[in-house]
Amino acid sequence: MDDAVSVRDLVVDRGRQRVLQGISCAVPRGTVTGLLGPSGSGKTTLMRAIVGVQTVGSGTVTVLGRPAGAAELRRRVGYLTQAPSVYADLTVRENARYFAVLHGRGRAEADRAVADVGLARAADQLVGTLSGGQRSRASLACALVGDPELVILDEPTVGQDPVLRADLWDRFHAMAAAGTTLLVSSHVMDEAARCDRLLLIRDGRLIADDTPDAVRATTGVDDLEEAFLRLIRASEQEADK
């Protein structure tokens, strides 16, 4: 069992809409897997299903050998929501310390998590007064503070400058090298190139599940952005038929 996450025929309806139409995919342990796709394609919904907060229609989601949402997994999985979800009326440090306790960690871990996302100097600032990018890093610190085995990050680098983005990606790879599994959604193609594996979804269907090199090879283009456009167009033509 070397997949941290395996998804079988997952169907999810939200409102009146079928958002995931039978997705099957896997996230291998100890890798950084990228989840890409157009806006509204179902990335957040798939991540919610893996974390176990999404009601699913049918199919199975297995996480670290257990059904998604199992109580025991809550200690082992970290989740960064797309919109920063931290308490605006607490300081960065107070937020990190609270989430640290929830994960059975202490103050030292909390302070390190804050420093690791580059917020050491803003640690005593109220989250409500942070800039947008700082706020999402505060939220990231709270997702990583428990040092979980599996980390689900919904667009962690949005609103960050290039230097910070590079730092964060170095950090993700260091975590993977230490055995952590990461599933990271993104809109930015140069980030796709940094992933060990890529999952590309469009309209709730998986259209690619491969390494970046294999995606380049099958599409015959070097640029991943161009490769994705081709894959998406090809899947659209197939859908029209």
């Binding site: 949402g69 809550r74 999985v77 989740y79 979800s85 308490y87 605006a88 609270y98 994960h103």
Partner: protein, 251 residues
């Protein structure tokens, strides 16, 4: 239930409150200001010899009612904010138990409510000369319990609200019928049977009866303790029901 997590959650909620100075000031001042209004409303009303003055009768019940509405409103908004800002969804992906969260709110806002009731009753007794046969501290205890009940009901009701607009409207729905039927305006014994039946299932009726017992008797009575037990039971029931309506999974 996990004691460390419960303590951290209570501390977190109190810390949020501490950062919001204006809310703290309002929590402390508003019941006292309202009591002042009540005092001047009734100060010139004639008293029937041998009966408690109208102010004594009304203020005693208001000491229980003001913390009730204030804490109900504060709690429903705070819990709704957890929902709309996504922190609730995130908390539910962590080892935090639903009971840890709800009891955390119950304890934190309950403490705030007890503080509020203590101050308000201090002013009522010392400044406005409120007179009750029983002890002031029994009044504070019942008012504080009322605040905790309001927190529990606020947590429960916030589960049925999607927006702040909806949450605020639960105040008239939940609080006002309890005030109208609690026996302040018309003694419960003189109401139509069906009104009495409604009054009998509303927890505030028992809190008010308990306060009236303290008003009329020098020592705590069996009826008072029974009423206190009923209010405490309703509080726990509301918290457990709120936990049951809190779903980790949503659409």
């Amino acid at each position: 239930m996990n004691f460390r997590i419960l303590a951290a959650t209570t501390g977190r909620i109190l810390r949020q409150l501490r950062h919001d100075r204006r809310t703290v000031a309002m929590l402390v001042v508003v019941p006292t200001v309202l009591l002042t209004l009540v005092y001047f409303m009734y100060v010139d009303q004639p008293t029937v010899p041998g009966r408690p003055s109208v102010f004594d009768r009304v203020a005693l019940i208001m000491l229980g009612f003001f913390p009730f509405i204030i804490m109900f409103l504060v709690t429903s908004i705070a819990m709704l904010r957890e929902r709309t800002t996504g922190t609730l969804e995130r908390l539910l992906t962590t080892p935090l138990g639903k009971i840890d969260l709800l009891f955390g709110y119950g304890i934190a806002f309950g403490l705030a409510g007890v503080l509020q009731s203590t101050l308000a009753s201090l002013v009522a007794y010392q400044v406005f000369g409120l007179d009750t046969a029983g002890s002031q501290w029994l009044v504070v205890m019942i008012a504080g319990l009322n605040a905790v009940l309001a927190v529990a009901l606020g947590l429960l009701c916030s589960a049925f609200a999607r927006t702040e607009f909806q949450a605020v409207q639960f105040l008239p729905v939940v609080a006002l019928p309890q005030l109208l039927l609690c026996g302040l305006f018309v003694p419960r014994g003189e109401m139509a049977g069906w009104l009495q039946a409604i009054s009998d299932v509303l927890p505030l009726s028992y809190a008010v009866e308990a306060l009236q017992e303290v008003g009329a008797h020098a020592d705590s009575t069996g009826t008072m303790w029974r009423d206190v037990a009923i209010v405490a039971g309703a509080t726990v029931a509301a918290l457990v029901l709120a936990a049951a309506t809190l779903r980790r999974r949503s659409g």
